[in-house]
């Protein structure tokens, strides 16, 4: 019978894993379960719910880090950081509504385990760049740690990187330390409104590239084709009927004003150029981060493609030759979101092959449990990569008791 184990402290997590190891029982390791829709569905004997391990244990704003138990709700983390005018630099997205659940859920452990990042990825890196230390219990039933609380640290292998994005398949994280940075004083967004509603995505990608290679320290660059822009809740973006390219700058007020003007000058050749200030700007980038434009119609499949930025539009063009889909671009074209009405095996192959051709990978983010269980959710690995992946897994969880199959079959 499936048990739900909710440990209240690290010793109990240790006991639970040791017990599972002894019984050769598999564990579905989760926090609040807000990202269970990511990856393949795990078929485990029992649920190990670590949301009871909650609380910020060490937050020193002037040291630029925060340490918290893995089950700490993200909203508690954000509240503490807000109070000190600081933030997680990788702009964690909230996929709650995209995945058909509630917003404002999730734990620190889940965020780190899934290694997701929002639009600021182009400037500030991902969760893996912010995670500088952790404590965990391996699938061998042993407590171990890696990293520390200082950013500059090369003592031993950087297991913090490995644990970030491992979807709980290597160890049960009990505590994580993330670096934090001051929130920017000011945020501004420059919008290009492409008058011709049917402009090619290629032009949007071109404009984003020009922004990124300028000296304006862009911290977000997204392109919303007209159909997607119409789904925005930001009045201007929604109402023009145009495709919209959005480029963000953050920093001290005089600096953002200056950079905003410089970007407008670059973009004036493309059409109407508009500016969004702090509040509306934040709203727009939250929509983009959360991919809220694709939250409706939960039966449709959603793909996430990570490709070289200049290839974004090319890859999409090739994919659309074989299937119908809505698309949007983040990360200056390097992150493509694709919403397709149906995903059969043939269209999956088309997506994977188009992406592999340019060097990148595709993730089936939203699809039925049945499809996610039977298909590859992540880009399949070549034989050497599959081999080293399995050997790494075996070093941490030799009996395969932690989140079995969540990433790949057998991993």
């Amino acid at each position: 019978m499936t048990k739900i184990i909710i440990p209240e402290n690290n010793d109990q997590v240790l006991e639970a894993v040791q017990w599972a190891l002894g019984d050769k029982a598999q564990l579905d390791v989760r926090g609040q379960g807000s990202k269970l829709g990511l990856g393949r569905p795990t078929q485990a004997d029992h649920i190990l719910d670590i949301s009871g391990l909650s609380g910020i244990t060490d937050y020193q704003p002037s040291e630029l880090f925060i340490t918290a138990n893995a089950g700490t709700p993200l909203k508690d983390i954000y509240a503490a950081l807000n109070e000190q005018n600081q933030q997680l630099m990788f702009e964690p997205p909230d996929y709650g509504s995209l995945l058909g659940g509630m917003s404002d859920q999730g734990t620190l452990g889940g965020l780190v385990a899934c290694n997701i990042a929002g639009p600021r990825r182009v400037k500030a890196g991902s969760a893996r760049d912010s995670c500088i230390g952790f404590h965990a219990i391996s699938g061998r039933g042993e407590l171990f740690k890696s990293g520390g609380k200082v950013v500059k640290n090369v003592t031993g292998f950087d297991l913090s990187k490995l644990i970030t994005g491992s979807y709980g398949t290597l160890a049960v994280m009990t505590e994580a330390t993330l670096k934090v940075l001051p929130s920017p004083e000011n945020t501004r967004t420059v919008l290009i409104c492409w008058e011709n509603g049917s402009i090619s995505d290629k032009l949007g990608n071109q404009a984003m590239k020009e922004a990124l290679v300028s000296t304006n320290e862009v911290s977000g660059a997204a392109h919303l084709p007209a159909k997607i822009a119409a789904r925005s809740d930001v009045e201007y973006v929604k109402s023009t009927g145009c495709a919209i390219t959005a480029v963000r700058v953050e920093g001290p007020a005089p600096s953002t004003a200056y950079r905003c003007a410089a970007l407008k000058a670059i973009f004036s050749k493309y059409g109407d150029v508009e500016e969004l200030h702090t509040k509306k700007s934040k709203k727009l980038w939250k929509e983009i981060a959360d991919v809220s434009y694709m939250a409706a119609n939960q039966n449709s499949a959603v793909w996430r493609l990570s490709v070289p930025p200049t290839e974004g539009a090319n890859v999409v063009r090739r994919i659309l030759e074989n299937c119908e889909a809505d698309v949007m671009y983040d990360w200056a074209g390097g992150l493509v979101w694709l919403q397709a009405n149906e995903t059969d095996y043939a269209s999956q192959d088309s997506v994977r092959q188009s992406v592999a051709k340019v060097g990148g990978h595709a993730t089936l983010v939203r699809a039925s449990d049945e499809l996610r269980a039977s298909a590859n959710v992540f880009q399949p690995l070549g034989s050497y990569m599959a081999g080293i992946t399995k050997r790494v897994k075996d070093g941490f969880d030799p009996e395969g008791i932690l989140n079995p199959g969540r990433m790949y079959k057998g991993i």
Binding site: G141, V150, K152, K161
Partner: protein
Amino acid sequence: MLMPKPNGATIAKRDEIICALQSIVSDECVITDEEELRAYDCDGLMAYKQIPLIVVLPETTAEVSKILKYCHENDVKIVPRGSGTGLSGGALPLADGITLGLGKFNKVLDTDFDNRCVVTQPGVTNLAITHAVQHKGFYYAPDPSSQIACSIGGNIAENSGGVHSLKYGLTTNNVMGVELVLMNGEIIRLGGKHLDSQGYDLLGVITGSEGLLGVITEVTVRILTAPETAKAVLLGFDTSEQAGDCVAAVISAGIIPGGMEMMDTFAIQAAEEFVNAGYPLDVEALLIIELDGPDVEVEYLIERVSKIAKDTGAIHIKISQSEEERMVFWSGRKAAFPAVGRLSPDYICMDGTIPRGKLSEVLSGMSKLSKKYDLRVANVFHAGDGNLHPLILFDANNPGEFERAENFGSDILRLCVSVGGVLTGEHGVGIEKRDLMGEMFTEDDMKQQQRLKCAFDPNHLLNPGKVYPTLHRCAELGRIHVHKGGVKFPNLPRF
């Protein structure tokens, strides 16, 4: 420092190994002559020397793959080497091991400005990457002080830092992809021109793995557009506490400077005598804070930083008025090591990281240790990210003084760990800090790290004797200790 006992059987079949290598690479790429081998007998940690069994200098990935496969199958140890500038002995040769030099991998392969990255071979120097892209206003951000000589492959192996890492990150935050040859000869690619690599973040663990996991044969790094302008402000304080307060106050004000460097009295005086940078000599601590970005931002922030400095007690405040003056401010800091070196026959450079707020505690602890060991110490400090570089002065001609300096250094690192810091911020563990790993990690911590090693190199043939004080056999590490036997774990809440 004890290295693993050389394997006599390997040494005995040296000729056979040479033949095998000559069948893989051209003859002139296999170095066997003792005089020529001597050029490889140490890296930047020159206190330790060892002539390698053989040096091989492959020219292609296929050759590297064949060499590793041969070593894997014939149980021969191998030590990868870039430019040999590392400061922790990571490339120290082994008497029974082949040193595999990547110096012939010296070409920049692709400058892709549109995707803001450069694809290069690993033997290319750090600075050469910037040289390849600066005509279009780009640069490669991590700037270790050896950047003119150190190779990008070595930077990845060590996860090198530099003075700008607070704002622009370490090597690990600027590497996008590698081609890696595994010990069994398999060639894999991790990451690339896209932003997120897939699956387990093996790129993240390769970076900083000190040549223990594989050999890098190609690299993709991110390049940035050079900031419009940069200005520095030179600040002098009566006490290091005040300087530390200033650093904390700048960060608390939400400002992340491009660089934030501190020097103590000894380092200031040595540098000033050496290069005449115009440093004040009546202060206990000197701070150089550099702001970079658009002109308007730099002007705005430098004013705020100057005000913060005044409020925290700076008695000297000087803002660079020209690019030349900014370079002069930096000249003393950049020459600090040789400047201090001039005052002493020998010195060793330590490398620990501490929480910024513990600076004055650590400095006073260090001056106590200085008295105890009767050796002088000068301090330069990447204040922005808490990375300390104490320079311990000694004379190797005095019997016992080198050992005393090493023990002093070890005590400094123990002090760093005891205040919540770490053993090494950017130089790596290598052999230098290997035996101190237990100060930071438990036996279980280190065993788990070594299990990662086993996934890549099950026979411990790649760079053995480095980083980890005890080499556990992988078979032993793989054993699972099951806590079975009727224990019902009564404390577990179950639902």
